[in-house]
Every structure is written in structure tokens, then in C-alpha cells.
Amino acid sequence: MKKRKERIDRGIKVRSADIFALCSWREMLYLSSPRLLPIVGLFLLSFLLSLYWQKVLLSVSVFALLAISWDLLAQSGMVSLGQALFFGMGAYLAGIMNHYWGWSPFLTIPVATLFGGLFCTVLLLPVLRLRGIYFAMVTLILPIMLVRVIEATKIFGGTEGISGLSPLPSRWLELYIIIFALLAALFGFRRLMGSDFGLVLKGINDNDRSVMNAGINIYWFKAQALFIASSVGAFAGAFMTHVYMFVGMPVFALDYSILPIAAAIVGGAGTFAGAMFGAFILVPLSEILRGLGGLRIVFYGLFLVVFIVALPEGIFHYIQRKYHQFERWVEVEK
């Protein structure tokens, strides 16, 4: 008797479709708990964790933001190998404004976010017209080049960087700003990609010729996606400048480019929640593995390869599937 595996939506998923969810508490809970989990979880963690782990939570949130930003670009057909570009751009802009003009963090961060996004978009505009590989190459090279330039020309503090920058008023404010930003990005991006605008972006990724044929200027759309993603990255950078009260060449480090990609791939590209999930796994893991030194990056690299080849859907997709569907063995009909 031959059998095959069959995957069926769970009863509760079907019952909670659309407006029927309002019929009962169980259904409403089924729908809302995945969404409430990150919100409640993050706030609880912020209370319960020790000071050291709070710093880790901060770091997780920053990388999660970068991973989510990466995911947006990937869904729109742009593979960024240089999230560090956005991060570093925002970081330096905030540091410069604070150091040379004396602006407060509440001014530098928003402005750095906006202009960081703008600069990066304009910088990458010419490659949007070319094959995707150019985008990957240029985003990889630019942060590395910028580091060399800073090192060589010694501008903006050169190798020492700029220190003594203004901090944010309180440790709690720091934490809540970044958590709020993370949740805003998460839910905001999900909303965006679920809308018709997002559909166009996904269409561009899937079959850009078809979208061009519909009279849509795909470069304008790609530029918009790039601006949004790079602004989020710039925000993360500007924010961290004021957390560390320092900005220097390390903001363009390869770490800020690689870890977000690994987080998104391991967690599951395409859902934003997966990217965040991946960050929540990899960053604490990297903290725990700190003792291993350089071996950490070897692991990231291997993780990346293994997941990309064997489990491209990522862990989150797997969990999501289990949550919404169940499997059973079924006899194959003759």
C-alpha cells in the first residue's frame, strides 16, 4: 500500500478566515498570538533581562532592523551585500551633525535617517538599471572603499573616529526607541508588501519585463524600495552612534553586512518576521560563541551556505507551516 504525505490547513485556520475569526476567542487568539508574541515578548524581555543581556537585546534589535531592511530589498529583486553601507552612512551623518554642529540626538537621528537614505539611494541609482549582480557588487565594495578613504584621508576623525558624542537621555529610552522602531519596521513592512504597492515590487522581482509592460516605471519603484530600506539601515546606524557615543571606521565593518543576510536566510527570507527571528537566534548565539573568536564568522559562512542550498525557506517558514497546517500519511489512490 503506497502512502504519501498530505498537508492540510488546520481546522482552526480555516475557521478563523476573514470575519469568522470574530466568532470566538479561540480563533481570535489563534490569529493574534503570532502578532502579539514579538510585541509582548520584546517588552517583557526588556524588563526581565539583566543589564548585560539588555545590551544584547539592543544589538539584536539593530541587526534585526538591518535584516528586515535586507529582506525588503531582496523581495524587490535587489540583493544587498552591503547593509553596512546604509548603517555606516547613517552613523557618520549623525556623528558629524552632533560633533560639528552640536545637534541633539533627537535631531541628528531623524535627519541622518532621511539623508542617509537619500544619499545611499542616489549613490546606487545608476546600478538599478543593470543586472542584479551589479547591485550586489557595488553594495559590497562601497562600504569597504569608504573605510579605505576615511583611513587614507583622515577625514571625520580618520582611524580614531569621533568620540565623545551625546548619548540618549536614558538607558530605558534607548531600549524602547529601538524596540519600537523594530516593531514599526516589522509590521510596517509587512503591511507595505501586502499592499498593491508591494505586489508591484514583488512583480518586479518575479518578472520585471511584465511590470514594465504594464506602464510602470520599475526604476522609480525600485528606487522607492531602496530609499525605504536604506533609511531603516541609516536609522540603525544613527541610533548606535548615540548609544556608543562614538562613530568610526568599524561602522562599515563586514559584520553589519553579513549578519543581517545570515539572519534573514536562516530565519527565512520573504516574511520580515523570519529575518527578525533569525536575528534573535544568531546574535545571542554569536554572543555566546564570543569565546571562539574568528571561528564565529566561519560558522556564519557555513550556515549561510547550508541554508541557502538545503533549507532556503528558513526556519520561520517551517514554523509557520507547522502552525497553519498539519501533515498526515494518506494512501495513494489507484
Binding site: A152, M212, G301, I308
Partner: protein, 290 residues
């Protein structure tokens, strides 16, 4: 002074070209951007070192073996990883990047850091050109560089396999229907590119020590040259190498040396502004991919 700058500029350019040719080769033929390129370069270097110093092979054999082994590494990389994600640019880039990263950082972790990691020069002497003294190794580099570029051109234009390569590059579907085995060609192209990286490593590394960071630099230089020259065009890569090579050498001589790294950045930004697909870029705008 000028003669010296001209000559060293030439050498510098050939070095850049040597490094970029392999990467360009792989991409031009099979469309695979091998971001593990720098890692393969360093792998060849360390392999030679280990074979020569720890296994005590005569250097010629060590060098030859390491080229072979690196080429095999490239082929394995294609067969086991790239083959499964063929056609998905995102995955290919990330996977090769991940592999390259792992290799490089593994070397770092295993402690391959230090001044003892050098490769011997082939002939330890120098010649005079006018009033300029050039060491034989650099002369050797130039010779090999020209030979490799020439060989590449001859191969892709005049041998059966080479023509198959170009067929695939131009139109994969048609090539497939003509019986050209795309996967085999792709494996060869990655392998070839890796071999080129290895040869470049063996020839160039004796100029200094083998460092892991140099691996990243090699990838960056290769990318920079390809961006400026145009991915897929051998002619463009050569011309871009000379442009960048001379610009860097002149900068080092007449301006301060730390402006040297600014050159590639300026070149990239300039190319992006003027002709994003590169000087001899064959990348037509997206519209013309039909």
C-alpha cells in the same frame, strides 16, 4: 623617475589584470559571480606554502599541485553547491560569498598569520631598464600576465571548448539545443577561474607575505576592475586594469600614498555616473534582455 613610474605602473596594471581575469572569466562564461574568488586565491597561496614547507615538495611541484587543487576546489564548489542553486542569482552570490568567508576566516582562525608565510620568488635577481631596477619576479609577473591574457583570448576564440564557452555565454538555450552541455561548461568555467586565481596567487604573492586580508582585497580589486571595465568583457578588464593600475601608481608617486585607495572608489563612482555597465560593458539595459 618617470620611467620608473611608467614601468611600475605597468607591473601594477598587469597584477590587477591577472587578478581580475579569472573572476571575469567565470562570470563571462557561465554568469556565475564567484565571490569566493579571493578565498581561492589565498587558498592557493597557503596550499603552496604548506606543500613547500611542511610537506617539503620542491617548489615547482608545490606550485603546480596547488593550482590543480584550487581548480578542483572550484569544480567541487560548483558541483556540490552552485549546481543546486543555478540560475538564482541571489543564492549564487550569497553561497559563494559564504564559502569564501568561511575559507578566509578559517585560515585566520587556524593561525595562518605571520611573517613566515611567504612564497619564494622564482629567480632572485633583477634587471635594469634604463636607470630603473626591476626585480625578476615582477618581470615574471608581466610575462605570465600577458601570456594568460593571450591564452584566454586564443582559447575562447579558437578552440572548440572555448567556442562552446562563448556560445553558452551568448545564448544558453540555443547552445543547449546544439548539444553543448551547460553544466559541464559551467563547472569548467568555475574551475578555470579558480585556476587563474591560483596562478595569479603563485606569481604575485612572492612580492610580500600571504595575509588573509589580502584575500578580501583581491576580491575587491577584481570587482572594481570588472565594474570599471565591464563584466564579461576581457578587453574591458584589461583596459580598466591599466587605467586603475596607472592611476594608482601615479597617485602613489606624485601624491601621498594613502590616496591610492581613493582611486578605485573615484573610478567606480565615475563609471556609475557616466556608463554604469562599464567601459566595454556588454550589459545591455534591462530592457534589452529580451
Amino acid at each position: 623617475m618617470l620611467l620608473g613610474t611608467l614601468i611600475y605602473g605597468f607591473v601594477n596594471s598587469v597584477i590587477l589584470a591577472l587578478v581580475a581575469l579569472g573572476f571575469n572569466l567565470t562570470f563571462g562564461i557561465s554568469g556565475v559571480a564567484n565571490f569566493a574568488y579571493g578565498a581561492l586565491y589565498i587558498l592557493a597561496g597557503f596550499l603552496s606554502w604548506v606543500l613547500f614547507n611542511s610537506v617539503d615538495l620542491p617548489y615547482a611541484f608545490a606550485a603546480l599541485f596547488s593550482v590543480l587543487l584550487t581548480a578542483i576546489a572550484g569544480a567541487l564548489m560548483y558541483r556540490f553547491v552552485l549546481l543546486r542553486i543555478r540560475g538564482m542569482v541571489l543564492s549564487e552570490v550569497i553561497a559563494t560569498f559564504g564559502i569564501g568567508l568561511s575559507i578566509l576566516e578559517l585560515f585566520k582562525y587556524l593561525g595562518f598569520i605571520g611573517f613566515e608565510y611567504t612564497l619564494p620568488v622564482f629567480i632572485d635577481s633583477s634587471i635594469d631598464i634604463g636607470q630603473v631596477v626591476i626585480d625578476m619576479q615582477r618581470v615574471f609577473i608581466v610575462t605570465i600576465g600577458i601570456a594568460m591574457a593571450g591564452f584566454l583570448w586564443l582559447f575562447t576564440h579558437h578552440t572548440k571548448t572555448g567556442l562552446r564557452f562563448r556560445g553558452i555565454a551568448q545564448d544558453e538555450r540555443t547552445a543547449l539545443s546544439l548539444g553543448i552541455n551547460s553544466d559541464w561548461v559551467a563547472t569548467l568555467s568555475v574551475s578555470f577561474g579558480a585556476a587563474y586565481a591560483a596562478i595569479a596567487a603563485i606569481v604575485i604573492l612572492p612580492l610580500g607575505t600571504i595575509t588573509v586580508d589580502h584575500g578580501y582585497e583581491v576580491l575587491i580589486n577584481a570587482l572594481a576592475v570588472c565594474i570599471v571595465g565591464g563584466l564579461g568583457s576581457t578587453g574591458g578588464v584589461v583596459i580598466a586594469s591599466f587605467l586603475l593600475g596607472y592611476a594608482q601608481t601615479f597617485t602613489a608617486t606624485y601624491l601621498e600614498s594613502h590616496w591610492v585607495m581613493v582611486v578605485p572608489l573615484v573610478a567606480i563612482l565615475a563609471i556609475l555616473a557616466i556608463k554604469p555597465s562599464g567601459l566595454y560593458g556588454e550589459q545591455k539595459e534591462l530592457e534589452e534582455r529580451i
